[in-house]
Amino acid sequence: MLWLALKTLFHEKVRLFITVIGITVSTVLAITQIGMYFGFMGDATAIIRHTDADIFIVSKNVPNVDFAKPFPEERANRVKAFSDLLWVEKIVLTWGFLKLANGGQEQVQIIGFNPDTGIGKPWRMSAGMAYDVKGGRYMILDKTSESRLGGLVTGSVWELNEKRFRLVGLSDGIKSFTTSPLVFMSYNSAQSLVGNEGQTSFIVAKVKDKERLKSIVRDLQAMMKENDVYTRNGFIYKTVMYWTVQTGMGMAFFLTALLGLMVGGAIVGQTIYANTMEHLKEYGTLKALGADNMDIDIIIFSQTGISAVIGYVTGGAITLLSQNSLEKAGVTIYLSPLILSVLFVMVLLTCLFSAYFSIRKVRRLDPVMVFRG
C-alpha cells in the first residue's frame, strides 16, 4: 500500500508543500536551538576540554570555569607532593579592559599559562606560536573577536588595564561562553596585570595511572579542604549543569527546541488529519474492498514519514547552509552526526505520533459508510 500512499501524497502537492514547510520550520528551529545549546556548552567548557589535565583544583564553590576565584598558588606544592601525578601546573583566569583604537574599551577574559609547558595555551593558532608570549608583555588574541576589537595585526601594541602589550599571535575560533574576547598571555604577566601575585585560579594535574584517578581526587579533596577538586569530566559536568540548570538558560534552549518540535507536530497532525477527513470515503472504500487495518496504517504512516524525511532534510540543509553565516555573527552552533541523527528520530517520532489521530479515525471507520450516498 506504499504505492497508494505515495500516489495520494504527491498528487496533492499544495498540501504536501504546507506539511513540508511546517516540518522544515520546526526542524530549523529545533536544530538551531540544540546546535546553539551545544555550541554554547562547547564554548563554556572549551578551556577545560583543551587543557590536557585529568584534575582541576579550584576555589571552594566555584560554579563554573569562567567564574574562577583566586587562591594561593603555593598550594600547588602540596599537590606536587603526590607521587601519583605526572605533572602539576597552574593557570590564571582573570578579567581586564582592553583599550580600542577608537577610544572605547572592551572587557576581555584573560588566560595566563606557563609557556614552557604549554598547559592552558591556545589550542588553535592562525598566526604566531603560543610560546611567543614568554618573557614580557606579550599577548595572543582570537581572530573571532576582530569585529569587536578592530583589526588584529601581529606586532601591534595594545593597552590592557593601562599596560602596553604587544600582540604576538592570533588564535582561531577560541571563544568563551561569556562572549568576552579571550586574551592569552604568560602566567606571570596575567598575575602582575591584575596585581594578584602569588594567586592562581586553577591547579591542574595529570595522573600517571588513569585507573586511580577517582581515588587520587578523593585523597586530594581530603587534603585540600579549602578547595574543590574535580576530575576533568566532573568539572565539565559542573560547568554545563550551572549554565543549563542553575541559570535556566539551557532549559530555555530545550524548551524552544521542544516548542519547535511541537509546532511541527501540530502542523503535520493537522494537515494529515484534514487530509484523512477529506478522503474518509476513500479509506472506507479501501476497507470495503478488503484492505485491513495494517494496510491503512502503512498508508498514513508512510505518508507522514515521507513528509517528515523531506521536511527534515530541507530544514537540516537550510540550517547547515546558514551555519557559517550564523557563526560569523558570533553564534556558535555545534552539530554532529549524532545530534542530527537524534533530532531526526525526534522529528520523525513527533510526526508519526501526530498521525496517530488519523490512524485512529480510520481504524474506527465503519466501511458501511461506502453505501451511503
Binding site: K7, H11, D295, V368, F371
Partner: protein, 224 residues
C-alpha cells in the same frame, strides 16, 4: 452447489441510544452462479443493510451468512477484509473512486490488494478497462471522467481479480438513462458469461428487465 451466497434468517438491529431499530427482519435468500438478483424496495426498507451483510461489511444481529460454502457469521472483524477481498466485487452508487489515481490505477488498487505481481497489474487493469469500453481513457483521473465513465471504472474495479460475487448498490442512481441501461446490461452479460453471482440493490424500474430474479423488501422483510 450452485449457491454462491446463502442468507439464512438474517436480522439486523441498530441501537440508537435506548432505541432499537429493526432494519432487517428474518431475511433468507440465496444467490446462484450466473444469476442477477435484483433487490427492490422503498427507501428505508433495509435493502442496503441487507447488501452490507451479504458483502461481509456488516455483522448480522441474528441468522447466518454462507459465502462460497463457508459460514462467515462467526468470523471476527479482523478476518472479514480477507473474505471481502477474495469473494466480492463492489459497485457503489457514488462510484467511490480514488481521486488521486487514474482510471487504470483505480483498478490496480484492488489487484494490488489481492497480491498481483507488478507485471500483471498493468496488463490486467488495461484489459478490464478495455472490456468496459474505456480503453482510451485509462490515464484519466476521475475528475476528468463523466458519471457513466466513472461507473464503468468502478465496474472494472469490481471485476478485478475475478471475485465470484458482485454486489452493486444503486449502480444507476447517479447516471442518465442511457448510461444506467448500459451498466445494467454489462452486469447481466458478465453474470451470464462468466458465471458470477450478481446482487443489485436498486430503485430503478428498468433494472427489472436485466434481472433473473427480483425480490422486494419492505420494513426490513422480504415481500412475497
Amino acid at each position: 452447489m450452485n449457491d454462491l451466497l446463502e442468507v439464512n434468517d438474517v436480522g439486523k438491529i441498530y441501537k440508537e441510544g435506548a432505541i432499537e431499530v429493526l432494519a432487517v427482519d428474518s431475511v433468507s435468500l440465496s444467490l446462484k452462479r450466473g444469476e442477477v438478483l435484483l433487490i427492490m424496495g422503498p427507501s428505508g426498507s433495509g435493502k442496503t443493510t441487507l447488501l452490507s451483510m451479504m458483502g461481509c461489511i456488516l455483522h448480522p444481529t441474528s441468522g447466518s451468512i454462507v459465502v462460497n460454502g463457508s459460514n462467515v457469521t462467526g468470523l471476527k472483524e479482523e478476518h472479514l477484509p480477507a473474505v471481502r477481498k477474495k469473494q466480492f466485487g463492489f459497485v457503489f452508487q457514488t462510484f467511490n473512486l480514488f481521486s488521486s489515481l487514474t482510471a487504470a490505477e483505480n483498478v490496480e488498487v484492488v489487484l494490488r490488494l489481492k497480491g498481483f505481481d507488478r507485471n500483471r497489474l498493468k496488463k490486467e487493469s488495461l484489459s478490464l478497462l478495455e472490456q468496459v469500453g474505456l480503453g482510451k481513457r485509462t490515464g484519466f483521473y476521475p475528475k476528468d471522467l463523466s458519471g457513466g465513465e466513472k461507473q464503468r471504472v468502478a465496474f472494472a474495479r469490481a471485476l478485478a481479480g475475478e471475485p465470484p460475487i458482485i454486489l452493486a448498490d444503486e449502480p444507476t442512481a447517479n447516471l442518465d438513462s442511457r448510461n444506467g441501461t448500459e451498466i445494467l446490461r454489462m452486469l447481466k452479460e458478465m453474470a451470464e458469461l462468466s458465471g458470477k453471482a450478481v446482487a443489485v440493490v436498486s430503485h430503478d424500474p428498468k433494472a427489472e428487465a436485466f434481472a433473473h430474479r427480483v425480490v422486494f423488501m419492505e420494513d426490513g422483510r422480504l415481500k412475497d
